[in-house]
Symmetry: C2
Subunit: 246 residues, 2 copies
């Protein structure tokens, strides 16, 4: 029997998960999804994801794929899986894809958002999906620093140890900041992201916004290729994988 290759588009609130990748003894997105798929299909299922999001990171546009020999109509997957999944994970679309489709290797771009709540008092609702920075941020300085990071560059300084990438050169084709009342939203688009790259970029920009660094430092940090020269890693709750492009 021919096996089918199914793509699922997935959203999740990452707050209560130790990240996408399955790990023993802790709740993970992959673990919950493979359990639900196993129940639905009556066979063990292995998922491959576009992005191995870290603990606490959210997704509105994660893409995963798996093989199955079962004849479940593809249109039935979202509802059937949502009935089995916890409330904080949802499948929003399903499609049959070619045998050789790979959610990660075939991606030509990814878009993340990072939200910051910038006001003295935190918010129990916004802070679930935003980093609370209580001191005022200088957005103009942050935008100037952001501009210096855009382009095809070596982001070794903005990469935590533990990644498996062969090269640290990435094309960060988009990095802009918008504000809505006291929420700042950064959008980061690249052909790929190194381990912790989005959060180290945001952490560095926030240090610029707080006046602790000058926007002109960005070139030196990039040139150093030294993780210790960049800023602290921003916390996970502000980060959301919005879209994967193929």
């Amino acid at each position: 029997m021919a096996r089918r290759h199914i793509r699922l588009d997935v959203q999740y609130d990452g707050t209560n998960y130790a990240g996408f990748c399955i790990q023993p003894g802790v709740p993970t997105i992959q673990g919950e999804m493979e359990t639900a798929l196993g129940k639905l299909l009556g066979e063990p299922v292995h998922l491959v994801a576009a992005s191995r999001t870290d603990a606490g990171v959210h997704a509105l546009g994660q893409v995963v794929a798996f093989f199955t020999e079962r004849r479940v109509p593809v249109g039935r997957f979202p509802q059937a899986l949502n009935d089995l999944l916890p409330r904080d994970i949802a499948v929003v679309a399903a499609a049959e894809v070619p045998e050789d489709f790979h959610p990660r290797f075939d991606a030509i771009g990814k878009l993340y958002t990072y939200r910051i709540l910038n006001r003295p008092v935190r918010s129990p609702i916004i802070c679930r999906y935003a980093w609370h920075v209580s001191e005022p941020l200088d957005l103009r300085a942050m935008r100037r620093a952001a501009e210096a990071l855009v382009g095809e560059k070596d982001f070794a300084a903005f990469c935590a140890a533990g990644g498996a990438a062969r090269t640290t050169v990435r094309n960060l084709y988009r990095l802009d900041l918008d504000t809505n009342a006291d929420v700042i939203e950064l959008r980061l688009g690249a052909d790929g992201f190194l381990y912790m790259m989005a959060r180290i970029i945001v952490g560095t920009l926030v240090e610029v916004g707080l006046g602790r660094r000058h926007p002109a430092e960005m070139d030196e940090i990039l040139a150093s290729r030294d993780r210790r020269r960049a800023g602290k890693t921003a916390p996970p709750e502000g980060l959301c994988l919005v879209r994967v492009d193929y």
Copy 2:
């Protein structure tokens, strides 16, 4: 030493709480807040709230008050309490109020919102703060039914057993529906709400929106004063106490 009366404006994500009111063995908003105040002031504190929100209900504008003999400057309360409170509860303002201020009895009006996600697929992020109704809702019919409920009326049919109100007459001065993409937001303003009143009104309007009831039934339901004539109680996650007016 003169005792001071302090008002706090409080926001919370009610998902993980058994409601505002303290109960043994379960997490409650009142329990968390009294614990934090006790730590801060070194004395037991008893809170009075404007609204005893139910399990799973959220708040952006809850008002509470307590007495203390401690000299903590009133402006220090928000930050000091937020450092002690869980992430899903936040104090956004504090003020000294007259001895005879009562958060509940002095309220002349309350505004709630109720959000519905109306589309086939649920959302892990929106559904934390919205009721997911997968079948399409007829908004025009819902608005017509809503109009019939506005005014000073006897809401006995829209009140669950277990409340302590002396009269079931309330002035529902506002009940309107707005939509933003696939999210419907209802705003309910009244001089007071009976036990479960907001959620029974929403549950009834949704039955109208699904075509299971006719908008013209509202008058009969009100006249019956019979809870069994109204619709099912809508789930708590869509409800949020937005503002209390004094």
